[in-house]
Amino acid sequence: MTTIAVEQRILNANDQIAAENRAALDAAGTLAINVMASPGAGKTSLILATAARLPADVRPAVIEGDLASRIDADTMTAAGIDVVQINTGGSCHLDAPMVRTALPELLAGRPDLLFIENVGNLICTAEFALGSHLNVVVASSPEGHDKPYKYPGMFAAADAVVLNKADVMAVFDFDVDFFQRGLAMVNAHAPLFVVSCRTGDGLDAWVAWLLAQRAQS
C-alpha cells in the first residue's frame, strides 16, 4: 500500500476547458461576464437593461443557460441581441464544455461583451469555471438581506454584486447595510451596485463600471 500525493483541483478537467474558452474569448476581443443569481433575481432584466444602456459601438451577445425552455432566449432575440440557448437538461449550473458549444456561433460576430446567464442557483454555479472574465452575482430585495451570510461561497467569488429591485426594498424590510456588511465579510473587493431594472435607478453606475472593466482588459 502506497500513498500518492495528487494535489489537483477536483474540477480540473472543467478548468482546462474553461482556459480554452478564455483563450477563444480573448482572441475575439470579447469580455465575458458570468451572471449568477437565484431564480427570479433579475438576471435577464439586468442583461436587457444593461444592453439598452451600452454605447452604440459596444455590442453585446448572450448565452442563456436554463434547465429547459427558450423563454429568455426569445426575449433577447426580440431585443435584437445575438443569443445562444443552452438547456442543461436538469443540471443546476453551466459548465465549461457547455459554454464551449455556444462560443463558435457567438464569437463569429466578435461581440464586445458576452453575458453568460447561468442557471438560477446560489450554491454551486461559482464552482464551475466557464472561462469568463468577470463573475457577477445578482441579488434582489425580495430574497432578503441575509443572502451573503447564507451563501458566502457565491458572494466570495463575485467581482461585482448587483442588488436589484431596490424600488421595492421598503416592502421587504430589506436592510442594505446588513447586506453590505455580509458581502464585505467574505469579499473585500467586489463593488455593490444597488439598482432597479424596472425604474432604471442605479444602472448608470453599474454600466460605467462594466465598461471600465472592458477598457482595462
Partner: protein, 119 residues
C-alpha cells in the same frame, strides 16, 4: 445535483493519478473541501459508489477533510472558525467588522493505492 459532476471529477482525477503510478487498485481517496463550498459528503459518496463500479477505484473509501473558513474581527482581533450561515457579528465583541477567509478549497489531496503485484 451538482454532486454528480463533482464526483465524476474526483473519480477521474484519482484514476488518472493511479494509472500514472501503475496502481492495481485505489484503496482510498483523500479530499480537501472548504467549508464554504456547497458539497454534501453523503451525496458524493452515494454517486461515487455507482460511478466507480468497474474502475480502479471500485470499493475505495472517500475521506473528506473539511477545512473551515477562518474569520477575524477587525475591531478586537478575535479569530475563529466559521461555517455558513455566517454569524453577522464577532462572538467576542459583537462588532460587525468581521472578515472571512479561506473555506473554498476543493481538491484531491492524495490517493492510497495497492501497488503490490507479487500476489
Amino acid at each position: 445535483m451538482h454532486e454528480l459532476p463533482i464526483t465524476q471529477g474526483i473519480l477521474d482525477t484519482a484514476v488518472a493519478a493511479a494509472q500514472q503510478a501503475d496502481a492495481r487498485r485505489i484503496l482510498a481517496i483523500d479530499l480537501v473541501i472548504g467549508g464554504l463550498s456547497g458539497v454534501v459528503d453523503d451525496s458524493v459518496q452515494f454517486y461515487f459508489d455507482i460511478l466507480s463500479q468497474n474502475t480502479l477505484a471500485e470499493g475505495a473509501t472517500l475521506r473528506f477533510r473539511r477545512v473551515p473558513a477562518s474569520a477575524a474581527c477587525l475591531d478586537c482581533g478575535f479569530t475563529f472558525e466559521t461555517t455558513p450561515p455566517l454569524s453577522p457579528a464577532c462572538p467576542a465583541c459583537q462588532s460587525a467588522l468581521v472578515r472571512v477567509e479561506g473555506g473554498r478549497e476543493f481538491f484531491v489531496e492524495s490517493i492510497e493505492i495497492d501497488d503490490d503485484d507479487s500476489s
